[in-house]
């Protein structure tokens, strides 16, 4: 008898608790930031966190009349952890927005939670096109699929590189970028000699580079994740591909700002296309770079970092627009079509695809004041994410 009464009482308490959940976030708006802070992709997490913090340091912690509180959690780059943490943040901590997601599978795993809980999630890093179709509540401030690769293809043809070998890492974003580049390059009239794919867990690039060398193209187009990108650069030089007359063109991941100085001489003269360089000349960027350096031990922000910065900006904008209303659907509506000047340059959220529209810069690695930077010299304006167009 007693047990049944306890049961009813407990059940009542549970229901009561559930009922009060939405009211929880009255004064404070919580944003759940889920990043890989440990594991192989820890540097992504570190950079995004730095960007988020820099935004709050510069712009304060109130938006739409609410105090913003960021809850940082580590998912160690494991998809089921991401999903559980997202679900817990939504159910237990009552967050109104999610943010982060270092890798494609991590973002993918959260989609069902978003659809069920109707909460917006701003992607700061993962780039695969396919993510955006998984949920109406995804918005992206990093890059949409092969966005950075298209202008590189155009630029290559314009500058007389007619035969190209592509070399990408064998995972979602790699396939995406390979497809984007190859399609665009063929459309412009170039010839793809060969497409090489490198496994994600790959310690040594030697066999793949040798394959590229033996194919004797005008240039090799490369996409590898930023950490191994620097290793790739060194081996590229060591193998003498540059001496064999093969030019290296790449997306900006290879000449990641964070690691560029460590690559050293080898990187000089490399042509890359990307959406952000720490060298970008604008007052917004100056303030951003200075803030990140100041509070992170002199670390230079990279494209991950700016993704985090803009994600916060978008969150603030949405809250201002909704007047502090934290209803997920309204927030997503508020985000659609948002336009602002980011440290990377002018950007916009496409109202249809919720993906980012931005300028892509073609840069060359040069020495500026004793440090290596990606120096921008041409830009292609308002590039849309090609594969996620519905």
């Amino acid at each position: 008898m007693l047990s049944r009464r306890i049961f009813i009482a407990a059940a009542g308490a549970v229901l009561g608790a559930l009922g009060t959940l939405p009211a929880y976030a009255q004064e404070v708006v919580k944003i759940g930031l889920i990043l890989p802070m440990t594991g192989p992709f820890a540097s992504t997490g570190r950079q995004v966190e730095a960007g988020v913090k820099a935004y709050m340091a510069i712009n304060g912690d109130t938006a739409g009349g609410k105090k913003i509180e960021v809850v940082l959690r580590d998912d160690a780059g494991t998809a089921d952890q991401t999903r559980r943490i997202a679900q817990e943040l939504v159910v237990n901590d009552g967050v109104s927005m999610l943010m982060g997601f270092g890798l494609t599978p991590l973002a993918m795993s959260v989609a069902p939670v978003l659809n069920q809980a109707k909460i917006p999630a701003i992607i700061t890093s993962a780039t695969t096109s396919a993510i955006m179709k998984q949920s109406e509540y995804f918005v992206r401030t990093s890059m949409g699929g092969p966005q950075s690769a298209l202008p590189v293809a155009t630029w290559a043809v314009e500058n007389g590189l007619k035969r190209v070998v592509t070399l990408v890492t064998d995972y979602g974003p790699g396939h995406d970028i390979e497809k984007g580049f190859v399609d665009q390059y063929k459309k412009e009239g170039g010839e793809i000699v060969e497409s090489v794919r490198v496994p994600l867990q790959n310690p040594d690039f030697a066999p793949f580079l040798q394959r590229v060398r033996d194919a004797k193209p005008d240039a090799v187009f490369v996409f590898v994740p930023s950490g191994v990108g620097s290793l790739f650069m060194k081996q590229f030089v060591e193998r003498g591909l540059a001496d064999a007359g093969i030019k290296l063109i790449a997306t900006g991941d290879v000449t990641d700002d964070d690691l560029l100085n460590g690559i050293g001489e080898a990187a000089k003269g490399v042509i890359t296309g990307h959406f952000y360089s720490a060298d970008h000349d604008s007052p917004e960027n100056k303030a951003f770079v200075e803030e990140v350096r100041k509070s992170n031990n002199g670390m230079r922000p990279n494209f991950m970092s700016v993704g985090g910065y803009d994600a916060m900006h978008l969150a603030y904008m949405a809250l201002e627009k909704s007047g502090g209303d934290t209803d997920g659907t309204k927030l997503v509506e508020a985000m659609k079509g948002a336009e602002w000047t980011s440290p990377r340059g002018p950007i916009m959220i496409d109202p249809q695809t919720r993906d980012i529209v931005q300028d892509i810069y073609i840069r060359e690695v040069k020495e500026v004041d004793g440090e290596l930077y990606n120096v921008e010299f041409t830009k292609y304006e308002k590039i849309r994410a090609p594969n996620s167009a519905q």
């Binding site: 440990t38 820890a42 540097s43 310690p203 030697a206 066999p207 950490g227 193998r239 690559i263 050293g264």
Partner: protein, 286 residues
């Protein structure tokens, strides 16, 4: 074709130099030390710090990496590992995994999570053409160093007094002690030497394999593969195994990129099925 062979050998040699310390601790001292990669990482970071922060020459870094890792190995052996020689394999695995976790987090805390890169001296970078074969200079350097090391190791173990003492201590600890061999010291020295080798491997591997706090976890599998395939009772077994795996891996990735990653694992399983005790098993020693 020959270039691929060359690259494969260089890669295999690097694997060997990283794994041979493990061969010693695992094979001779019968201790499953999964934290071996942590010592390799120490060596790598020593090199990075010396070169990038103090601008010392790469050639000085290699012995420094060896000695720092060896010293670290000796300290840990005296304080911690020593207690676990008699423990079960499971305890050893658990203990060394704990050590790996600590090393990963500590490296992250001290050095930061990003890839560390070093600048090789100019005479080691780049590439030379010899009778039509492209030879990476650094890879050649790796091969030479490793070949000397393998020979030296084999000589020390089979010809010197220390080698025979060690083997005696391993085969029968009590009898060895009865004969007046100071077993704990022999073990400590051996362990330190094995850790030092790992450190050297880490220092040399930093250029090709990269270096970040996750190094010990990422390459633990490769070390284990080399040791398991090569067998744990000789030096030549892991040496051959490492070269074989290196060549197979590089050639597999060059000729059949689609199934490249399977080659190394498939080869391992195949060899384990055919020769469960390693390439050159010492018949029924244990």
């Amino acid at each position: 074709m020959l270039t691929i062979l060359f690259d494969g050998i260089a890669y295999g040699m690097l694997l060997f130099i990283l794994a041979c310390g493990l061969t010693i601790t695992l094979g001779l001292m019968n201790f499953i030390n999964l934290a071996h990669g942590a010592f390799a990482m120490t060596g790598g970071y020593v090199t990075v710090v010396m070169m990038n922060r103090y601008g010392l020459s790469f050639y000085w870094c290699l012995p420094a990496a060896f000695f720092v890792s060896a010293a670290l190995g000796a300290i840990l052996e005296r304080t911690l590992y020593r207690r676990l020689y008699q423990a079960s394999h499971l305890d050893q695995v658990l203990f060394s995994v704990g050590l790996v976790f600590m090393a990963v987090a500590a490296a992250d805390y001290v050095m930061g999570g990003q890839q560390q890169l070093i600048q090789l001296p100019p005479e080691l970078s780049g590439r030379t053409e010899i009778i039509g074969i492209g030879i990476g200079r650094y890879r050649l350097f790796t091969i030479v160093v490793c070949a000397f090391l393998a020979m030296g190791l084999q000589l020390i173990l089979s010809k010197t007094r220390f080698g025979s003492r060690l083997r005696a201590a391993v085969d029968d600890r009590r009898v060895a002690m009865g004969l007046g061999i100071n077993v704990p010291v022999v073990f400590a020295l051996t362990f330190a030497f094995g850790s030092g080798l790992a450190g050297l491997g880490g220092a040399m591997g930093a250029e090709i394999l990269g270096l970040d706090p996750n190094f010990p976890l990422k390459f633990m599998i490769y070390f284990l593969i080399v040791v398991a395939v090569g067998g744990t009772s000789t030096v030549s077994g892991p040496f051959l195994a490492a070269i074989l795996l290196g060549i197979a891996d590089v050639a597999g990735k060059y000729y059949v990129p689609a199934i490249g990653p399977f080659v190394i694992y498939g080869l391992m399983i195949l060899m384990l099925i055919v020769r469960p005790n390693g390439l050159f098993a010492r018949g029924g020693a244990r």
